[in-house]
Amino acid sequence: MFYEGTTVVLKVSNLKKSFDNLTVFDGFSMTVPRGGFTALVGPSGCGKSTFFDVLTGVVSMDNGEISWLGETLPHVGQKAAYMQQKDLLLPWLSLIDNALLPTKVSKGNRNSREKALFLFERLGLSGFEQYTPHKVSGGMKQRCALVRTLMFEHELVLLDEPLSALDAITRRSLQSVLLLLQSEFKKTILMITHDVEEALLLADEVLVLTAFPMHVKEQFALEWPKPRRSDETELMKIKEHVLDELQGESGNGCITLRFPAVPRGIGAESS
């Protein structure tokens, strides 16, 4: 089994981030085990996405430590593939060219196209390689975004509410695709969601977060085999409990903070 559960790949200690006088999190700490599926559940606008922005280096942290396999780094942007809520496919490229973007940028190896085609087949996109994004459904776009994420060949995959914009049926079919990331592609997954049921169906570990300043309120290890069913009694009990916890948090202070200012021009990418 790939999920070792003991080797910590990512460790975050005493992380602090604030914008002007607003402290989004202070003293935030957590660990991510190798091969695990960790879900962060919290009220909307509590700072989950800002946490991912800090992790990937999109915004800098004020204080704290991020370590990758014991090595302290300013961020793990080069270690992690990041999939956001929106598919962010480029409308002028075909699905296959969108998926191949990471290899085009990094001058990837010659086998990358074969790999993309394999992933297209595995994720049910065969036959749609040459379609442009506006000609396919939302679910297919998200699958394509997932293929692009997998093309990064990074061990850690950060998923920021990847299914929240989809309808219930599409979401269910893509949940099984997310499980494939862990079981077949041996990825370590850290996922943000505010869908408690989704977290309980997919994750090995669920961290319930407070409203800002964000911190871990409660942590569950879920040892049920996957795929799980949402009507399992124990899961339903946990779901009710988590929902009660979150209900207590909602309205305690939530805000939308996304990419306050991204510098442009030559050299900005390294700033």
């Binding site: 956001q84 480029l90 002028w92 973007l101 990064f152 990419f259 991204v262 990418e269």
Partner: protein, 263 residues
């Protein structure tokens, strides 16, 4: 009865959509204006050297084609070379201004000032510096066109979605990769909007240059005809210029639809 009313209403709505899409209203307006103009000229017996009737202008534009065509060819060449020159300057300039914020801050005032100076004021100078040949007219056209293209392209680059820029940064893309794969395609609709404005006003630059000093071109022909009170020929030249501007606008629109297939 109720269903019949609904189907009648639907048919009425469909016909309104067809009428709107077919350009019925603009066409009607043009026909109406021309009809009033024609009737006024005939009814009030306005002489041709004051205001020729549209039918007279059309017949001169058609039957004087052998005279108009060589001049139109020169003006078209000036405009096309002006467009090419402005593209050669505007695209790299907008890109450099986008790549270096300090250059943008330094050049922006000059760009604005370049538009505040009337083209008429520059025309005599350009004719002195570059002569009576085609070069001064090409430069006049280029000066007029390059501003909307530069400004539109720069705005297009800046308009690029922040989340996409972050995605490219996380992929480890440098500025030039991001420019090639993201910023440029993103800015293309803006670029074409600027180019459309540019090609429609390009005729102004070329004609002003020809007015000030030239030996060929529709502007030159207009000055000559005006001196001989051949106002119908002046109007025929204006008609040819309008058709040239319109053709270029349609062609750029065609290119835009072919290239920006995702819109």
């Amino acid at each position: 009865m109720y269903h019949a009313e609904i189907s009648c209403r639907a048919a009425w709505d469909r016909s309104r959509v067809i009428v709107k899409r077919s350009g019925f209203f603009p066409l009607t307006a043009v026909v109406l204006i021309l009809a009033i103009w024609e009737m006024a000229c005939r009814g009030l017996a306005i002489p041709d050297f004051i205001l020729p009737a549209p039918s007279r202008i059309l017949s001169v534009a058609i039957f004087q084609a052998p005279l108009l065509l060589p001049h139109a060819g020169i003006t078209a060449l000036e405009i096309l070379l002006g467009i090419a020159l402005s593209l050669l300057v505007a695209v790299p300039l907008a890109t450099i201004m986008f790549a270096h914020t300090s250059i943008e801050q330094a050049l922006s005032p000059f760009l604005v000032v370049s538009q505040a100076i009337p083209v008429f004021a520059l025309a005599p100078l350009l004719v002195i510096w570059l002569g009576y040949g085609i070069a001064s007219k090409v430069l006049m056209a280029a000066i007029i066109i390059f501003f909307p293209i530069t400004v539109s392209l720069l705005e297009g680059y800046k308009n690029c979605g922040t989340e996409y820029v972050v995605l490219f940064r996380l992929m480890g893309a440098g500025f030039w990769d991001t420019l090639r794969l993201l910023y440029w395609p993103w800015a293309l609709p803006f670029f074409f909007a600027g180019l459309k404005v540019g090609v429609t006003v390009a005729t102004i630059g070329a004609v002003i240059g020809e007015w000030v000093g030239a030996q060929k071109g529709l502007g030159y022909l207009m000055i000559q005809a005006n001196a001989r009170l051949s106002v119908d020929l002046v109007f025929a030249a204006i008609l040819w210029l309008s058709l040239m501007g319109l053709s270029m606008w349609v062609f750029v629109g065609f290119l835009e639809r072919r290239i920006i297939h995702w819109k």
